[in-house]
């Protein structure tokens, strides 16, 4: 009888060792190795620190304007491949007609303090970067005037 018990328990342990992953229970009731697998995935957005390490001129312009807190890849899209090897992927040209209005087109639900325009009335079809520099968009600043009329913030 003891031999039957021993054989049964040994076969249970053997089956358990085969079917239960090695890292199961390492941190809790799950496969601990899953954490490393999820953490090992490649990144798509490089992060603004990576951009700023090379593009210091843009960073300097941007830091003085109202777009200073906006991360590069908010507009330019995911560019981790470009950060790894600048020749591998060139950032696509931005379509300002789409890009600017994505944030600045007037909408009743947007916070009142956020600069909004009805693009059709505001520019009459003229593309945004004819007047505004996207990295430092406030015209009053660029012209050195003292007015508080940011054209990005106009009604």
């Amino acid at each position: 009888m003891a031999a039957v018990f021993a054989a049964g328990i040994l076969s249970f342990l053997l089956a358990r060792s085969i079917f239960v992953p090695k890292s199961f229970g390492q941190y809790g009731h799950y496969r601990g190795a899953a954490l490393q697998e999820i953490a090992a995935r490649p990144i798509t957005f490089a992060g603004h620190d990576a951009c700023e390490s090379c593009h210091t001129d843009v960073q300097e312009t941007k830091s003085k304007g109202v777009h200073a807190p906006v991360a590069c890849e908010s507009c330019h899209g995911p560019l981790a491949k470009h950060a790894d090897d600048p020749t591998a992927l060139q950032p696509p040209k931005m379509d300002v007609a789409v890009l600017c209005v994505r944030c600045h087109e007037a909408n009743k639900a947007k916070p009142k303090s956020f600069p909004q325009v009805v693009s059709a009335d505001h520019s009459g079809g003229v593309v945004c970067n004819t007047c505004h520099q996207p990295h430092s968009p406030r015209i009053a600043e660029a012209a050195g005037t003292n007015g508080d009329t940011s054209s990005g913030g106009g009604q």
């Binding site: 941190y27 009731h29 799950y30 957005f45 807190p69 995911p78 909408n107 916070p111």
Partner: protein, 243 residues
């Protein structure tokens, strides 16, 4: 010494423990990142959200989220000036392409970004029959794609509607709080690209984290607090009509 049944019963537990430690091996360690030093959460400042949908696009690009599915999305609420209990909510394509002009007169309107709340006491992990979803030691609710059966229990259990069945893998899928980024010292894709600073990653174990300090000193709240899920997505400026 003869091996009696009594002696065998004494021996077997010891043998089982020895065998278990033998097959378990040594725990793997992640370089430069100590899970026990962090407890991740998120601050969502509703007063800053402009509904641009950059976060939704960024999440889809960063995490290969299938078209038509969302790990994060933005809702637009319109609360009429008299019917506070029944707000009108829309989220066309998760707010991915922004929102059309709102024609409604009166009342108030605002955007509310939604995503996994990374609950410390999450209902979704409790119902998983195989241990495929769990709260990591640093407070992130994750899914083990290799272990998930696709039974959908967790999708039903999530009170915030943050999970879906990935049609490509037939496994449960959800926000990982960009675990592959935060373990490398980066912020999440949605926080990185949010142009207004609405979304900010917070380390609740780091007392010097400025976002942590903001949460400490401001009135924030979580979604559905009555469910006691210990949610860690903290909303600032949230209207009472938000569900």
């Amino acid at each position: 010494m003869t091996l009696t049944r009594r002696r065998l019963l004494y021996l077997l537990p010891a043998a089982a423990i020895a065998w278990d430690s033998l097959i378990a091996g040594t725990p793997e360690t992640a370089p430069n990142y100590n899970m026990t030093d962090h407890w991740w959460g998120l601050l969502i400042d509703v007063t800053k959200c402009i509904g641009c949908g950059t976060c939704v696009n960024a999440c889809q690009a960063e995490n290969n989220v299938p078209e038509g599915y969302y790990r994060t999305w933005v809702e637009r609420y319109h609360v009429s000036d008299w019917n506070f209990e029944n707000p009108q909510v829309d989220s066309p394509e998760g707010g991915k392409h922004g929102f059309p002009a709102l024609e409604k007169e009166g009342g108030k309107s605002f955007y509310v970004p939604k995503m996994c709340n990374h609950c410390a006491d999450s209902p979704c992990t409790q119902v998983c029959p195989v241990g495929a979803t769990f709260v990591s030691p640093d407070g992130v609710v994750l899914v083990d794609q290799k272990y998930c059966l696709g039974c959908r229990y967790c999708i039903q259990a999530c009170p915030y509607g943050c999970r879906f069945l990935n049609p490509e893998t037939n496994t449960a899928s959800k926000c990982t709080l960009c675990y592959h980024r935060i373990t490398k010292g980066l912020t999440t894709a949605c926080c990185e690209t949010c142009p207004t600073g609405t979304r900010q990653l917070v380390d609740l174990k780091n007392p010097n984290d400025p976002v942590h300090k903001f949460i400490e000193t401001h009135s924030v709240q979580v979604l559905k607090p009555h469910l006691a899920t210990q949610a860690k997505a903290f909303y600032y400026g949230l209207d009472g009509s938000v569900r």
